[in-house]
C-alpha cells in the first residue's frame, strides 16, 4: 500500500454551525491539523464561528495592481495615438489632457475590475486547470447537502486510526468514509 493510499477522508454533514464547531475543536485537540479541515457552507460564515485560521486573500492587492496596469495601458493607447497620428491642433498640445484623462480613467477601472475577478477565481480554485491543493475544492457526493442549506465538514489526510477517531467525534453526522 502506498503512502497516498493510507490517507483517508472523513466527511460529515451538520445542520447547526455549533455542532461543527464542537467537532472541529475536538479534532484540533486530538492532533488533527487545521490545514486538514475543510468546511463547506451555503453562506459565508463569520470569523468567530469556527476555531479555524482565517483564510487569506490578496484580491485587494491584485485589484490595485490591475488598476495601475489598466491605467497605464489606457494612457499609452490614448497618448500614443495622439503622437502616432498627430492631428492639426492649431498650436495646442498634441497630447490633450481631457481625452487622455477620460480614457485613462476608464482603463483604470477596467483593469481593476478584471484583475479583481481573475484573482477571486484564482484564489477560489475556479479557473480552468487550476490545481486544487490537497483535495480541497474537489467535488463530493455530499455537496447537495450544502445546496440544501447544511454544512459539510471534510477532514483530509487521516490515517486509518485517525479516521476512526474522527468518525467517532462526528458521531451520527459522519456519513461517509473512504
Amino acid at each position: 500500500m502506498t503512502a497516498a493510499a493510507e490517507r483517508h477522508l472523513v466527511e460529515a454533514v451538520f445542520d447547526r454551525v455549533e455542532d461543527v464547531r464542537a467537532v472541529v475543536e475536538a479534532a484540533l485537540k486530538s492532533g488533527v491539523a487545521a490545514s486538514q479541515l475543510e468546511v463547506r457552507s451555503p453562506a459565508p460564515l463569520e470569523e468567530d464561528e469556527l476555531p479555524l485560521p482565517k483564510p487569506k486573500s490578496r484580491v485587494l492587492l491584485f485589484a490595485l495592481a490591475g488598476a495601475v496596469l489598466g491605467g497605464l495601458t489606457a494612457f499609452g493607447l490614448a497618448a500614443g495615438t495622439a503622437l502616432a497620428y498627430p492631428l492639426p491642433t492649431g498650436g495646442m498640445s498634441i497630447v490633450a489632457g481631457p481625452p487622455v484623462g477620460v480614457v485613462t480613467y476608464e482603463g483604470t477601472a477596467l483593469g481593476l475590475i478584471l484583475m479583481t475577478v481573475l484573482r477571486v477565481l484564482w484564489e477560489g480554485g475556479l479557473l480552468p486547470g487550476r490545481a486544487v491543493r490537497s483535495g480541497r475544492g474537489r467535488p463530493s457526493d455530499l455537496d447537495h447537502h450544502v445546496a440544501d442549506g447544511r454544512l459539510l465538514l471534510r477532514i483530509h489526510g487521516l490515517t486509518e486510526s485517525g479516521a476512526e477517531e474522527v468518525r467517532q467525534l462526528c458521531g451520527p453526522h459522519a456519513v461517509a468514509l473512504d
Binding site: 493607447l77 495615438t81 495622439a82 477571486v120 477560489g124 480554485g125 455537496d143
Partner: protein, 465 residues
C-alpha cells in the same frame, strides 16, 4: 446553521428554487409576446441594413433622432441595477438582498440594448470596427479627442463590469442549482456557470472581497458612463446642449429612470412569480422613498437648467427654450414635468403610495417622462433653425418606431429567460441575511425567528409579505 435556518432554507428552496421548476402560463404568454416584439426589432433592423439609413426619418438638419434618444434612454435605464445595488451593498443596507440581482440583470440587459443603438444609428453596421484601435494598412485609427470614442471606452468598461458584477455573486447560486439538478443538460449548464464552486471558507472569503471591491469600483464607472454620454451633447456648441450641468443632470435622470424600471420589474416579479415573501412592502417603501427623492432632485436640475438659459438672454438658446416651453414641443415638455415631478411627488410622498402597484404605475409614467426628456434634448436643438436655410423637421419612420418598440421586447425576452434559468433573488445572500438576523447582527430579522417549520420564516427585507 441553526434549525431555524434550516426552516428558512426550506422556504428559500420552495419559493425561490422550486419556482424554477414550475411552469407558469403567465410567464409563457409574456415570453411569447416579448419574443414577437424582439422579432419586430430584428426584422426592422434587417430591413434598414438591406435598404440603407434612408429608410429612417433622419435628414438635414436633424441627424440625431430616435436611435440616439433610445441610446441615451437605455443607457439611463442601465443605471438601475449596478449603481443602486452597489450603493446598497456599500452602505450595507440589509433590505437590498432580495433586490440586487434583479436590478443587476436589468443593468446588463439594458446596457446591451443601449449599446446596440449607436450601431443601428451607423446604418452600415459592418464598419463599426473602424472604432477599434488596431494597426491597419489604411491608417484608420480612432480619434480619442471625440466624446463618441469616450463613449465606447466608458460603455465597454461598464458592460464588462456589470456583467462580472452580476456573475460573481451568481456563482454560489449556480452551484446550488448544479447540485440540485438531475444529471443532464441542465446540470451541465449550471456546472459551467458554477466553475467548480464548493462553498469553502477560502472561496467565500475571496468572493466577499471581490464583491466589496467591485461594488466600490462600479459606482464611479456608472457615474462616468452617463456623464460621458451627456458630453456627446455638452461638448458641442449647439444651443440647448452646451451646458455645464449636463453631466450630473444626465446621471440623476439615469438613476431616476433606472429606479422606475426597477419598481416595475419588482412589482411584476412579486406578482408574477409569487415572490411576496421576499419582495416585501418594506422593499417597495424604501425604494419608493429613493424614487421620490430622485424625482425632486431631477426637478431641481431641470429648473436650474432652464432658469439659467432663460435668464441668460442668449438669443439662440432662447429660441430653443421658447419652442420647448411655449412652442411646438410644449405639450411633451409639460407632460414630462407632470409625469416626472408632479405625479411622483403627489403619489410617493404618502406611505400608501409606496406600495407595489402605485410605485409601478408611477414608474411607467416616469419612463414615458424620461424618454420625452431625451427626445426634448435631442430634437428641438437640431430642428430649431440657426441659419435661414437650415430649416427642417423630424418625423420618425416606421422602421425607427419598430426598432424602438422591438427593443422593449428584446429586453423583456432576455429578462424572462434569465428569471426562468436562474434565481432572480440571490439564495446565498438571503441565507446570509437571515443568519445575520438570527445572530442579532442584522436590522431586518432580529428577534423574529420562525416558531415552526410551516411558520412564515422571516427574510431579509423584513416587513409583511
Amino acid at each position: 446553521m441553526t434549525t431555524e435556518s434550516q426552516r428558512s432554507a426550506a422556504v428559500l428552496d420552495r419559493e425561490l428554487l422550486g419556482r424554477l421548476d414550475r411552469r407558469r402560463p403567465g410567464l409563457l404568454v409574456g415570453a411569447l409576446a416579448s419574443g414577437a416584439l424582439a422579432l419586430v426589432f430584428f426584422s426592422c433592423w434587417g430591413y434598414q441594413i438591406a435598404n440603407g439609413i434612408g429608410v429612417t426619418g433622419l435628414n438635414r438638419p436633424v441627424f440625431w433622432g430616435f436611435y440616439i434618444i433610445n441610446f441615451v434612454f437605455w443607457i439611463g435605464i442601465s443605471h438601475a441595477g449596478t449603481l443602486i445595488s452597489a450603493i446598497l451593498r456599500v452602505t450595507n443596507a440589509e433590505w437590498r438582498r432580495p433586490v440586487t440581482r434583479s436590478a443587476e440583470a436589468i443593468t446588463l440587459f439594458a446596457l446591451a440594448i443601449g449599446g446596440l443603438f449607436p450601431l443601428i444609428h451607423l446604418g452600415r453596421v459592418a464598419i463599426f470596427y473602424y472604432m477599434i484601435p488596431y494597426p491597419n494598412s489604411r491608417m484608420l485609427w480612432p480619434n480619442f479627442r471625440s466624446p463618441l470614442v469616450w463613449d465606447i471606452a466608458a460603455i465597454t468598461t461598464y458592460i464588462i463590469g456589470s456583467a462580472l458584477y452580476l456573475f460573481l455573486p451568481l456563482i454560489p447560486d449556480a452551484a446550488v442549482m448544479r447540485d440540485r439538478a438531475a444529471a443532464g443538460l441542465k446540470k451541465r449548464f449550471y456546472a459551467v456557470l458554477a466553475l467548480g464552486w464548493r462553498g469553502t471558507a477560502q472561496q467565500w472569503h475571496s468572493l466577499e472581497w471581490g464583491i466589496r471591491i467591485l461594488a466600490v469600483a462600479i459606482i464611479p464607472v456608472a457615474v462616468s458612463v452617463h456623464t460621458i454620454v451627456s458630453w456627446d451633447f455638452a461638448m458641442t456648441r449647439t444651443p440647448g446642449w452646451k451646458s455645464t450641468i449636463f453631466g450630473p443632470y444626465f446621471v440623476v435622470g439615469a438613476i431616476f429612470s433606472g429606479i422606475a424600471v426597477l419598481m416595475i420589474a419588482l412589482a411584476l416579479l412579486r406578482r408574477g412569480l409569487g415572490l411576496g415573501r421576499f419582495l416585501t412592502d418594506r422593499v417597495f417603501n424604501n425604494l419608493g422613498l429613493l424614487f421620490v427623492t430622485m424625482s425632486l432632485v431631477w426637478g431641481y436640475f431641470t429648473f436650474a437648467e432652464h432658469l439659467t438659459v432663460w435668464y441668460s438672454g442668449d438669443l439662440s438658446e432662447k429660441l430653443v427654450h421658447h419652442v420647448l416651453l411655449h412652442g411646438d414641443f410644449a405639450l411633451p415638455f409639460w407632460t414630462m414635468v407632470v409625469v416626472n415631478l408632479v405625479i411622483p411627488v403627489a403619489v410617493l410622498s404618502f406611505p400608501r403610495g409606496r406600495r407595489p402597484l402605485p410605485t409601478a404605475l408611477v414608474g411607467c409614467g416616469v419612463l414615458v417622462g424620461m424618454w420625452l426628456e431625451r427626445f426634448l434634448i435631442v430634437v428641438p436643438s437640431l430642428s430649431t433653425p440657426r441659419l435661414a436655410y437650415s430649416i427642417g423637421d423630424y418625423m420618425p419612420s416606421w422602421v425607427e418606431l419598430g426598432i424602438m418598440i422591438g427593443a422593449v421586447g428584446v429586453f423583456a425576452c432576455l429578462y424572462f429567460t434569465f428569471t426562468r434559468l436562474l434565481p432572480i433573488v440571490s439564495v446565498w445572500e438571503m441565507r446570509e441575511g437571515w443568519r445575520h438576523g438570527a445572530r442579532g447582527e442584522g436590522e431586518a430579522t432580529s428577534g423574529a425567528a420562525p416558531t415552526s417549520a410551516t411558520a412564515a420564516a422571516p427574510v431579509p427585507g423584513g416587513g409583511a409579505a
